[in-house]
Symmetry: C2
Subunit: 407 residues, 2 copies
C-alpha cells in the first residue's frame, strides 16, 4: 500500500506553484512577455562565463575518475578546505574543512542542520514572514516548528513575541537573512540582541540552543546595507549557504553547512550530517559541481540587476501609497496589500496579468510578495499594469505623475 502520508500531501499544492502554473497558462493565451510573473524566486541573470569556462576546462583536462568519482559523504576534502579558507578570509572566521558539510543546496543544508541539533519533540522557532518549506524540513525530523509573528514595522525581530515562545523545549532557532520574502537584512543590532538573549536562555535552561542561519541570499546585499555574518555573533551557530542565487545555478544543487568552530561538538556536526545522509540515501552533491565552484569561489553573477529592479518597484509602490519596507537584499519585496485579505488582493491583480503571492503562504497575512528576479525591461513594463490595478480596483492614484508612462 502506498504511503498515505505522502499521498495526502499531493492534495496540498503550494500556493506559489499554483500562481506560477496560472501564469504559464495565461502566457499561452497572451504571450509570456505580457504576463508580469512575480511569483517565482528563480535567478534570472546569466551564469558567469568564468564558471562555464572552468567547467569546460575541468572536462577537457582532468582525469574522468577523479572528476566524476565518489565524493566523501561530507564532501570532497580539498573542496571543503577551500570553502573554509574563503569564509575565514571573508568573514574573519576560523573554520577548517572539518566544520564544513557539502549539501544539495540550502534546502538540504537547513533540513540536515535541523536534524543534527534536535530530537523528536523538540521545538524549533522561526520568524514570520518565513519560507514555507521550513514546515516540511522541521516536521520531517519529528521536531515542532513555532513561529514568531512578524515585526511588520521593519521585518527585523519581534523580540517581545520571541520571548513568549522561548521555553526549555526550544533547541534551535531558524533565521533567514537576507530574508525571503521580505527582502530585509537583519542588522548587527538585531543579531547582537538575539545572540545575547540566546546566551541567557542557554544559561537559564542548561542546554544548547542552536542558531541555524539560512543564507542563500547572503551575496545579494544592496548598497550601504548593514549585513552582518550571523555566525560571528553567536557560538552555537550553523551557517547554511547555497550557490543557487549567487552563481545562478539552482539546478546544480550545491550548498553547505558551516558549523561555527566554537559551537558544541563543532567537529562532529559534519560527520553527523553524513550519517543523516546515509538514511535518506542522499550521500553528496555532484562532484564536478563541487570541484568547479571551489575553483571560482567569490565569483558571482552580475547581481546588480536585482538592486535596479528593487529601486524601480519600491519607488513605484511608495508613489502609489503602499506601506512597504525597503529591501536590503535578495530579489523580493513584501508590501502590505490594499485590503486585509491578501489572497483576494492577489486574485484581483491577476486581472491585470500581475502574478503576486499572498503573504499568508509566508505566515504573514495581509502582505504580498513580489519576486523581481526578472528582466528590468519587464519590471518597467509591469509598473503601468500595477498603476491600473491600484487605480481601478482601489481607487488609489500615484502621488506624482510617472516620468514616462509606458502604457
Amino acid at each position: 500500500m502506498v504511503s498515505q502520508k505522502y499521498k495526502e500531501l499531493l492534495g496540498a499544492k503550494s500556493v506559489i506553484r499554483q500562481m506560477s502554473e496560472w501564469a504559464a497558462g495565461r502566457a499561452k493565451e497572451i504571450g509570456m512577455e505580457n504576463v508580469f510573473d512575480f511569483s517565482l524566486g528563480n535567478p534570472s541573470v546569466a551564469v558567469p562565463q568564468a564558471f562555464t569556462d572552468k567547467m569546460i576546462e575541468l572536462l577537457q583536462t582532468r582525469d574522468t575518475m577523479e572528476l566524476h568519482g565518489y565524493s566523501q559523504s561530507q564532501g570532497i576534502p580539498a573542496v571543503r578546505a577551500k570553502f573554509a579558507a574563503y569564509l575565514n578570509r571573508t568573514y574573519g572566521m576560523a573554520y577548517t574543512a572539518e566544520h564544513l558539510f557539502m549539501t544539495t543546496g540550502a534546502a538540504g543544508a537547513v533540513a540536515h542542520a535541523v536534524r543534527a541539533v534536535t530530537q523528536p519533540g523538540d521545538e524549533v522557532i522561526t520568524f514570520a514572514p518565513y519560507f514555507p518549506e521550513y514546515n516540511h524540513y522541521v516536521n520531517q525530523t519529528g521536531a515542532v516548528l513555532k513561529v514568531v509573528p512578524a515585526d511588520t514595522r521593519q521585518f527585523q525581530i519581534n523580540f517581545e513575541e520571541l520571548e513568549k515562545l522561548l521555553n526549555p523545549k526550544t533547541m534551535a532557532l531558524l533565521v533567514n537573512t537576507p530574508n525571503n520574502p521580505s527582502g530585509t537584512v537583519y542588522s548587527t543590532e538585531t543579531i547582537k540582541r538575539l545572540a545575547q538573549l540566546l546566551e541567557a536562555k542557554q544559561q537559564e535552561y542548561g542546554h544548547d540552543i542552536f542558531l541555524i542561519s539560512d543564507e542563500p541570499y547572503r551575496d545579494i546585499i544592496f548598497e550601504g546595507v548593514d549585513a552582518p555574518y550571523v555566525s560571528k555573533y553567536y557560538d552555537n551557530s550553523l551557517s547554511c549557504y547555497s550557490f543557487a542565487k549567487s552563481l545562478s545555478i539552482p539546478g546544480e544543487r550545491l550548498g553547505y553547512i558551516a558549523a561555527n568552530p566554537n559551537c558544541t561538538d563543532s567537529e562532529l556536526i559534519s560527520p553527523m550530517c553524513a550519517q543523516i545522509s546515509r538514511g535518506i540515501g542522499h550521500n553528496c552533491p555532484p562532484s564536478i559541481i563541487q570541484i568547479a565552484v571551489a575553483e571560482v569561489l567569490g565569483l558571482t553573477s552580475d547581481l546588480s540587476v536585482y538592486e535596479t529592479n528593487m529601486k524601480l518597484i519600491y519607488d513605484e509602490l511608495v508613489q502609489l501609497g503602499f506601506e512597504v519596507v525597503k529591501p536590503g537584499g535578495t530579489f523580493y519585496i513584501f508590501p502590505k496589500a490594499l485590503e486585509g485579505d491578501a489572497v483576494a488582493f492577489c486574485k484581483k491583480a491577476m486581472k491585470y496579468d500581475l502574478v503576486l503571492v499572498p503573504g499568508d503562504t509566508f505566515g504573514c497575512p495581509g502582505y504580498f510578495r513580489m519576486a523581481y528576479c526578472i528582466e528590468t525591461e519587464k519590471v518597467r513594463r509591469a509598473m503601468p499594469a500595477m498603476r491600473r490595478f491600484v487605480e481601478l480596483e482601489y481607487n488609489m492614484k500615484r502621488i506624482s505623475k510617472p516620468a514616462k508612462d509606458a502604457d
Copy 2:
C-alpha cells in the same frame, strides 16, 4: 543539544570503510601498487569520451539558465520522457514520463521507494547477502527490515526461508540483481517464482506487496547470463537504477525510480517521491547531469574489463579449492572463507596485503567479498599473493601449477 541518535552512529564505522582506510595507510608504507585492495566498489573504467564531449557541447551551446536552472522536483520532464522511451525500447515496457522520478543515485532511489510504499511499523524483506546500507534506508522510514538467510548454494532466493518471513505486515520486498556482494543474477525462473508467490500473498493478505528492485549493476552482465528485467514479471514493482557504474560517474549522483505502469497508483509514485524530497531538502539531482545523460542514453563505459577480471579471479579461486559461485554480473565475487570466521580470515589476508571484506557485513557470515573493479594488471599481480596466503595460512595448494607465476 546535538542529536544523540546521529552522534551514536558515528561510533559505528562501516567495515568496508575500515578496510579501505587500512589499505590507504598500508599504501603509504609500501606503495599503492603493492596493496591489493579489493574492498571498494568504485568503478575503475574511464567515463566514455562521448559523455565528456556531450557535457562540453552543452556548456558551449546551451543557454546557461536552461542548463543550470531548477529542475522540477520529479526531474526535468523532457529527460524523464527520454528515459521512459529508452526503457520501453530496451525492455518492452510501457512507461511514460509520469512513471519516472529522478534521484540521487540508486541510494536515493531505494530510500525514496521504501518510504513511498510503507508506513512506520511495516515490514520490508530483503535477501542475504545484501548491501548493508539497506538497514539505514529502511530504519529511517520507521519500517523494519527482515532478512531472508542466503541460499549459499547458488545465491538465488531461499524460498523456504522467504515463506517463513512473509506475513500480513510485509509491505515490500527489496531485491538486488545483479547482486552486491555475490555477483549473482536472479534467473528468469527465480523472478517468475517470486512474482507468483507475491501475487498469491497479495490475494491472501488483501493488500499490495511492492517489489523494489535495486539495479545499479543492470548493465554489467557477463556473457550468456540470463538477466531478466524484474519489473516485466510483476506489476507492483519499482525499478531503481543508477548511472554510477554503467557510466563510471558515481560522484554525479544520478539515478531514477521507474514505477511499473501497472502498479497501484502508478502515476502517483513519482509525485509522492517529490513530496518525500521536500521534507529532506533533497529536491532533485543536478540539472546538467540529467540533461547530459539523457543525450547519451544506452552508452556505457567499457564494462568488459570486469568480466576479464572476474574470470581471472574465479579460475584462480577454483584452482585453489575455494567454494565459489561464478558471478553473472557486477564487479563482485563472494567465495566461502577457508575458516568459519570470515573476519579472522580477512585479517590474515592483510598480512599478504590482500584487502577482502568479511561477509558478516552483508548478512552472510563465513563468506568474503572481493570487488574487482581494479586494473586487470593488478588483479594478475594479486593472484600470487592469494596463493601464498592460502598455502601459508591454510596449507592449501593449487590443483594445477599456474601457467606463469609472476612472483
